[in-house]
Every structure is written in C-alpha cells, then in structure tokens.
Amino acid sequence: MLISLLFRIIPPVLLAGVAIALLFLSGCSTSSIVDEQKSSSVKLELAPGQSIVILGRRHGSSYETEPDFINCISNNIANTARLSVIQEQVFLDAFYPWFEPRVAPLKLPPINKVLNKPIVAKKIKKLGVRYMVWVDGSTEIADEKGSITCGMTPSGGCLGFKSWDKLSSYEATIWDLKHLTEKGKVKVDSKGSSYVIGVVAPIPLIAQVKDVACKGISDRLKGFFDQ
C-alpha cells in the first residue's frame, strides 16, 4: 500500500535518477595495494624465440585461481609489452599431465623432477619457455547486504537495494627455468563495493575489482621484463 502510494506521488524515473546520483556520489569504488619483491634490479630478458607462460594455482581446497584472470594477465602482457606469452590452456594441454593441479610443482627445486624428464625438457626447449609465472589467489564476495524484489510492486518493476564487497588478492611468482631461480614476486590486493538498486528496473553499479587487480599485477609483471 505504502509502496503503491510512493510510486503515485513520485514518478519512478525520478526515484531512479535520485538513487543513481546518490550512488555515484558515495559508492562503487575500488582500491588497490601492490607489493613487489625483485631478486635483482636487472631487467629480465627474453631472447628471440623465448616466451613466458602464466599459470594459475589450483591446488587449494577452498578456492582456485580463475582461468579468466590468468587469461586477462596473459593478454595484457602479450598485447602491451610485446612479449611472447603462451596461453595457459595451450601450455597445460601441451605438457599434460605434468602441470595439472594434482602434480604441478609448488616450489622451485621440485620442478627439476619434471624438467629432468627428457620428453618434457625437449618440449620446453621446442616451445622456448624461459619464464614461468605462477599466480595464486582469488576474488571473493563478502558482506552482502539488502535484497531486491522484482514483480511484486503494482507497477510490475523492481524494488529494493543490494550491496556487496568484492576482495581480490593475488600473488605472482616468476621462475626462471634456465637458471632455476626465483626472479621476483608481485602481490596485489584490490577491493571495492558494488550496488544494485531496484527502482522499476534493476540498476547495477558494479565495481571492477578483478579487472583492477589484473591490470595492477600485469603492469608490475611487465616492469620485470626488458621490453
């Protein structure tokens, strides 16, 4: 009854406009924190024919690094830094099963066990894989509040408000497969709040938290290499 009265007094379009204006003033923000460690200030070089591969960690029990996030980093680096990057799925298929979640080496020394297999070493050489970047982390949704109901109002539209926070936390570690050493680490934490307001139609205002994290980690990784 009250809702019906509200819709009669104030036109829904005006309500929507006010809500959007309020949200733009207050929310939908993202912030990012980057931490970086380098083993040396010398830039990493890729000789002609050599390439980098970026792989996601998927051994954890409660999360796995999202394949689309790895593709985002790979594409960012390949497109803007002109570095040769092997796509994750192409690499995993080419080296099946040696980098599958169950058997992928978690630390640098045990990778010798895999690289010492002649058939694997031959393929690494053939594809020119020089650096392997392992990315570990995920994006989680936290602190969901509110709700939206659609179709229950007299006008048949949506009514309500919903908000949530997204937290992205990723760490990338660069391995040099030639010298079997760790060349550096980059850690990016990013967070933001998203909102959906339901006034006639649901109006989403989504914080691009994962995209910010992807850009942050890609930019830092590019900084390691001589481009």
């Binding site: 999202e66 099946y96 099963p97 058939i119 048949g156 539209g157």
Partner: protein, 211 residues
Amino acid sequence: MKSISIFFKKNIVLCLIATCLSIQGCSTNVIVAGEYPPALVQILPYNAGLVLNNVFTDYSFTREKDDKKITITLGESQTELLSQIFGDMFLKVSRFQAIPQAGKNDLDLLIVPHIEKLQLSMPDETSINIFEVWIKYKLEIFDHSGILITEWFVSSYGRTQTRFLKSQEAALNQATISALRDAGTQIITGFNEIPKIRDWINQKTEPSDVN
C-alpha cells in the same frame, strides 16, 4: 505509464508459469563432452589390451535428491580419455569389448577399467560455492597369461566455480571433465610407481617387438 504496468504484469504471469513448470520438472541432464590432450609421456615398449565393455562405454550416473534429478552421461567421454592416454603410454594398444582369451594374442598386458563410484556436490550443499565431482575407478591389470598383476584404484576429483559458467549443465560438464583429466593425470604419472607394476616391468626382460 498504464501500458508499462500492464506489460510488466503480463510478463510476471508468464514468468510465474515458467517457474512453476521448471520446479515441477526439475531435472538436469549432462552429456559430458570434452577433448583430452595427448599425454606427454615416454612410451612403454609393450603391447597392451584395453577392455572397454558396454557398461563402461555407456556409463551414466543418476542422482535423485530433494525432487531434483541429475543425470551425467560420461561413458563416451571416459572411453575417449582412456583410449587417448593408454594409446600414448604404450607402443601399441588394442581395444576389446570383452576380456580376450589369454595366451591367444600378442598382448603383454591387459587393462580392464571399471567405474566404481561417482559422487557429486552442488554449491548449495557445501559452504564453498562450487560444483564438485569425484570419480573412483578400478583398473584390473593382467599379464599375458591372464594372471592378475594388480587391482589399482584411482580416485579423481574435479570442480568448477559457479560464477564463471552460464548454467548448471555447463558447470557439471566442466567439473566432470576436470575429474576425468585428474584421473588421466594419476594413471599416467602413477602407472610406473605401483610396486607390482614396477616389479612386472623389472621382470620383463624382453619387451615385445612390434612392427
């Protein structure tokens, strides 16, 4: 404004009818479709026989819980996987539908896989928002004279995060493919590690000479 209201009301009625219908006939059917890469593995110089009977090649899993029926048909996909990986692991692989008579062929080994169990977990059943699939296989491995070398149990696991996929079917398909890939990983990396297989390889002084 009145016409907009009528439009929404009509659509709401249609949506409610569709929802009621979908709740009544709530079933999920997945025919697992995946491609498996060739295995990067040193070829073992043996002639192997792979017995894939109809129970295995036509295998379908069904679960009915809380008026929800889920069917996963993975016979074809698991047949493709095992044919692929054993084909890459051995010098020669012959496929059979039933166990051939021992001693009347040039086989060094005969592998008979069975699917023992499949379990799945939906996002609303666990605290983590993912689809999970477990598959347990039993591989019976016989020598050329039909004597059982070992029974090898392989328990594989696959999962998918829901938010990346458009439908429940797509999520279950991907989780099952992931579990099948994991089974392949264990078979390839673990075959030579099984003590009885290792002993058999050590005893086999003269590998068969094919071609």
